[in-house]
């Protein structure tokens, strides 16, 4: 009885984790293809791809490369960033209610974009809006790192994030309040709701390198997150440099989520819910939940973006509205069920 037991406990966690990641990669790929195939106009995919490969700038080729593909790719990239950052934040802060926006980075990125919008720069340069968002996220990360550098506790980090979030939210409200006309205000509000519609490959090329760098920084903290399950002193005694861990996490989150918000607006609840779904599947070890959380985030955002396009509502529902509408009740149900299990 004992020998097979120990065999099972040795091999199962890693093997099942690998199976989970493989399954989620497959699901993400399927949803990317589905996302490319679905749109408001019928598109002959093979023909469009053939035209593009042959270098013919036909209408189907343009629709595929300039509309469908960027939308699908951004869905996957933004979703992976949100899921991964959510898992990293919950692991790092040892708080199941932490989300990618807890450090104020999302709000600051949104504020950066709104400032650009308000300043009228958005019309003169296509990428002005996302660049403004990235600038906002960068400033926020710098601010959080500086505020946190004065102490080592994670509580200080959360408080700094809450302060920053409130400030960015207040300034965004101020921009709305002072908006020159109701249409400008409406446009800002719609942008803040989050959407992947009408993005181009330029958006993909802008956020891709930033996101990949952010992912690498956050994924490099996996073992430290495991050790942090036992508290900061124990993690430090196991040889982890907690200052380096904090800087990697704050910078990585700013790069991934900041550039995500900059290209897509605020998409809520994905980063909060995903780690809760993944945790029971990987034995709750924070480091083991990073890849599956990123991939499940991509799956959820791609899925929600498909729903947005398949629903007959006009105007099109905003992606952030759908994720929040589905995510919030789901999270409540999940917490309720877990609470009852105790």
């Amino acid at each position: 009885m004992n020998a097979p037991m120990s065999f099972v406990t040795r091999t199962t966690p890693q093997a099942s984790s690998r199976r989970l990641v493989a399954g989620l990669v497959l699901l993400t790929a399927i949803l990317i293809v589905a996302s490319v195939a679905v749109g408001y106009a019928a598109l002959d995919l093979p023909a469009a791809l053939g035209d593009w490969l042959a270098g013919r700038s036909t209408l189907p080729a343009l629709v595929l490369m300039e509309l469908r593909l960027p939308r699908a790719l951004l869905g996957a990239l933004v979703g992976f960033s949100l899921g991964l950052t959510g898992a990293v934040m919950q692991g790092y802060l040892r708080n199941p209610l932490a989300d990618p926006g807890i450090l104020g980075i999302s709000s600051a990125a949104a504020l950066g974009a709104v400032v650009v919008f308000y300043g009228g720069l958005a019309g003169s340069l296509t990428l002005a809006l996302p660049l403004g968002g990235i600038a906002g996220a960068a400033l926020a990360a710098l601010g959080v790192n500086l505020l946190a550098a004065r102490g080592t506790g994670t509580l200080g980090l959360i408080l700094a994030g809450v302060g920053l979030s409130s400030l960015a939210g207040a300034l965004t409200a101020l921009a709305l309040n002072l908006a020159p006309n109701p249409y400008a205000a409406l446009e800002i509000v719609f942008w803040l709701m989050g959407s992947l519609a009408d993005r181009s490959m330029d958006h993909v090329w802008l956020c891709l390198p930033l996101m990949i760098l952010g992912w690498i920084l956050m994924l490099s903290t996996a073992r430290a997150l495991d050790a942090l399950a036992l508290g900061e002193d124990t993690a430090a005694s196991l040889g982890f440099d907690l200052v380096s861990v904090r800087i990697r996490i704050v910078t990585g989150a700013a790069l991934a989520v900041g550039s995500g918000v900059a290209v897509s607006g605020a998409i809520g609840f994905v980063g909060l819910v995903v780690p809760h779904l993944v945790r029971p599947l990987v034995g709750a070890r924070p480091g083991a939940s990073l890849w599956p959380s990123g991939l499940l985030g991509a799956v959820l955002v791609l899925g929600a973006d498909l729903v947005v396009r398949l629903l007959p509502t006009r105007p099109e529902l905003k992606l952030g509205v759908v994720t929040a509408l589905v995510g919030a009740p789901f999270l409540i149900a999940l917490l309720f069920r877990q609470g009852r299990g105790r």
Partner: protein, 273 residues
């Protein structure tokens, strides 16, 4: 192998916590660190572990300052069991204990056979093998403490620093844990444990270091360290003394002697001295 502190001073938020502490622990020794609440025991343990920087003095590992030793080497040579640690996520016990192997793991590599063996040994020693599939919310506080002790043992370090390792345990497991700590010290590990139970500390430790108001007031074999005047001055208690049938002497805290109470009302008193 020797871990030592020399004239260690630690100030936290403008309050002097440790005021010139010197002590050492050698391989094969089981040292009990005792003292009343607020004496600075936990701060001393954290300073010995390199978790809090001293404002003056050094902590030396085999004569080298702790600050000159790399984090990785320090993590392999010094195992630390912190006070009232919790387990943040519903991880399985076997995975919690395996965290003790992180300092030995290579980058991008899974646990090795040696890691699995060390985890199994640590779980057996701390009597948690039967709990291996259990997860955090279902553990009692005594079970959790033994799991965390197993985690610290799994490091298989040369020095083990344990802050209150037996506080939450029932009497049988307290005796087991003290025998275990003495056993691993006999196997060559230097052990320092913060203890509140003077009876068990006196019975199992090779040496007792008594800390009071940030200073060491005794550092000797238990029988020499815990004298009546010292117990009255440092702890504010008087004890019963007796001898077991096999000739082992024991002490039992019995009465409050009242000396400590004046100090309790003046917690900042040591700052003004």
């Amino acid at each position: 192998m020797r871990l030592s502190a020399e004239e260690l001073r630690v100030r936290l938020q403008d309050r002097s916590i440790l005021d010139g502490v010197s002590l050492s622990v050698e391989a094969g020794e089981f040292v009990g660190l005792v003292g009343p609440n607020g004496a600075g025991k936990t701060t001393l343990m954290r300073a010995l572990a390199g978790l809090v920087p001293p404002s003056a003095g050094h902590v030396l590992l085999d004569g080298r300052p702790l600050s000159a030793i790399s984090r990785d080497e320090r993590a392999r040579r010094l195992a630390v069991l912190v006070q009232s640690a919790g387990i943040g996520w519903p991880m399985r016990v076997s995975e919690v204990v395996a965290l003790g192997r992180l300092p030995h793991r290579r980058a991008f590599a899974g646990p090795s056979e040696a890691d699995h063996a060390a985890v199994a040994r640590a779980m057996a020693r701390a009597d948690v093998t039967h709990l291996r599939e259990r997860t955090e919310p279902s553990l009692s506080s005594g079970e959790r403490m033994r799991v965390l002790l197993a985690r610290a043992l799994a490091v298989e370090a040369e020095i083990l620093l344990a802050d209150e390792p037996i506080t939450a345990l029932d009497p049988a497991h307290q005796l087991d844990a003290m025998s275990l700590l003495r056993g691993i010290s006999r196997a060559g590990t230097g052990v320092v444990a913060v203890l509140h139970d003077l009876t068990l500390a006196a019975r199992f430790c090779d040496r007792l270091v008594v800390l009071s108001e940030g200073r060491i007031v005794a550092d000797a074999r238990p029988a020499l360290a815990l004298t009546d005047p010292l117990l009255r001055a440092a702890f504010g208690i008087t004890v019963l003394r007796g001898t077991d049938a096999d000739g082992t002497s024991y002490i039992l805290p019995w009465h409050r002697s009242g000396r400590l109470r004046e100090d309790d009302h003046d917690p900042a008193g040591q700052d003004r001295s």
